[in-house]
């Protein structure tokens, strides 16, 4: 909550109670509101200045009082003043706004990740533990939460006004935003980018819970399969393991531990493997071919849903060794069906 506590809280509370102001329910809100009040002040002062000038001159120099106008050419000094002062104020606004922007869009390293898929016309949240929610989002209090978002069709925009955050979910690539909830409660979730007929129905609720309640909630609403486990199944059923088996003879590179590493591509450039890279590597494999390999990987564009892709990404992200990949590959190669219920022990990928 930072900033000058007593007066600040009084002001915000008062505004909020008269329902002219949204709740400050996230760590970033006070910072956004501070800039807002500065800008409101600028507007009031600027408008008042113009209004006062007009009023005073209108009264003093109305025709009845001042029948003959005095011609004035202009004044470089005055004009320079009202060029430089607004410019200076605007530049302050720019710097302030830019700092805030990077604060809102740069997640801290320890943030927990939740995937959001937007589609006409609903929001689907996928927790790493496999909990799915539609048009709702449960988050713990006081923990940084990063949202990795993608849209399955058109532009949507994920907005929680009481958190002062918003980011577009766009088709074709991941975007991220983060927040840290500071007040238990339920808050509006809106889709703010016009996305077709039911745009105004694409709303939901964000529930902030104490960490204990959140843990309970997680346990109650688990679907039994974590995202990574789903991913593992997909990895086998799409035949990825036929190339990415991690053996020396494999046609594709080993994917164990690849997440977060720097890959060298055939053109010699280096690239950091993150969620976006993994997604792109599956859909557009030839766009960045890893050094030492031929561009033989087929594209899975059109064969995987965004949910499936998230499962795969989450699986590869958490893949530490190729042991299980090879296991599943053996079983599928020998004609047996791939194991449907993976053994216990993979739940350490869940990140409550």
């Amino acid at each position: 909550m930072g900033l000058s506590p007593v007066l600040w809280q009084f002001l915000v509370k008062w505004l909020h109670n008269s329902s002219l102001f949204p709740a400050e329910a996230s760590g970033i809100s006070p910072y956004v509101d501070a800039l807002y009040f500065f800008l409101v002040l600028m507007t009031i002062v600027g408008t008042a200045l113009v209004a006062v000038l007009m009023l005073v001159f209108s009264i003093r120099y109305r025709r009845e009082k001042n029948p003959v106008a005095t011609q004035i050419e202009g004044s470089t000094l005055l004009e320079a003043t009202w060029t430089i002062i607004p410019l200076a104020i605007f530049l302050v606004t720019f710097v302030w706004g830019a700092l805030l922007y990077f604060r809102i869009y740069d997640p801290p390293a320890n943030a927990m990740n939740i995937y959001i898929v937007g589609k006409q016309w609903m929001w689907k949240a996928e927790h790493p533990g496999g909990q799915h929610e539609i048009n709702a989002l449960h988050v713990p209090l006081g923990k940084p939460v990063q949202l990795t978002m993608i849209s399955q069709d058109v532009f949507h925009s994920f907005s929680i006004p009481d958190f002062r955050i918003k980011r577009e979910a766009i088709p074709g690539r991941y975007t991220t935003v983060w927040f840290e909830a500071t007040q238990v409660g339920t808050y509006h979730l809106f889709c703010t980018q016009y996305c077709g007929t039911q745009h105004s129905g694409m709303v939901g609720e964000v529930t902030v819970m104490t960490p204990e309640n959140y843990k309970k909630w997680l346990e109650q609403s688990t679907s039994g399969q974590s995202l990574a486990q789903n991913g593992e199944r997909l990895f086998a059923s799409m035949g990825c393991n036929s190339c990415h088996s991690g053996t020396a003879a494999a046609r594709g590179p080993s994917l164990a531990g690849v997440y977060g590493s720097k890959l060298t591509l055939t053109d010699g450039s280096q690239i950091l493997v993150d969620d976006a890279y993994l997604r792109d590597a599956i859909l557009n494999p030839s766009r960045h071919v890893t050094a030492g390999f031929a561009p033989i990987m087929p594209t899975y564009q059109g064969q995987l849903s965004e949910d499936g892709l998230i499962d795969l990404v989450e699986f590869i992200k958490n893949l530490q060794s190729n042991y299980r990949v090879q296991q599943t590959f053996m079983t599928s190669a020998s004609g047996e069906s791939a194991p449907t219920t993976p053994p216990q022990g993979t739940t350490e990928t869940v990140n409550p």
């Binding site: 690539r173 991941y174 690239i271 976006a276 890279y277 792109d280 766009r287 960045h288």
Partner: protein, 117 residues
Amino acid sequence: MAHAGIHTDANDPLNVTNPEHAQHHIVTPLQYTFVYLTLLVCTGITAGAAYVDLGWANPVIALAIACFKAVIVILFFMHVAYQSRLIKMTIGAGFFIFLVLVTMTMTDYISRAWGLW
């Protein structure tokens, strides 16, 4: 009152209206022929250069020749070499705004952090 004079001479101090005026100039067929031949030769060179592997220089050469060709068409076929400054600035403005479109949009694409560049 006398009818307003006609001030078409660029050097006429009375001509406050249109200082951008230029004298009309007729380009001769001989000049056109030179330009024409140059254009043909350039076309030949640019097509030929495409068959030689010069690495990164290929597109640069192709575009440089294209620009050269465009410039001489503009200057001679379109008479801009003999036109007023106004016309020259007009053309400049057009290419300038096109460059704004390209470079300013590129600031987005080049610095996007998602690996396409």
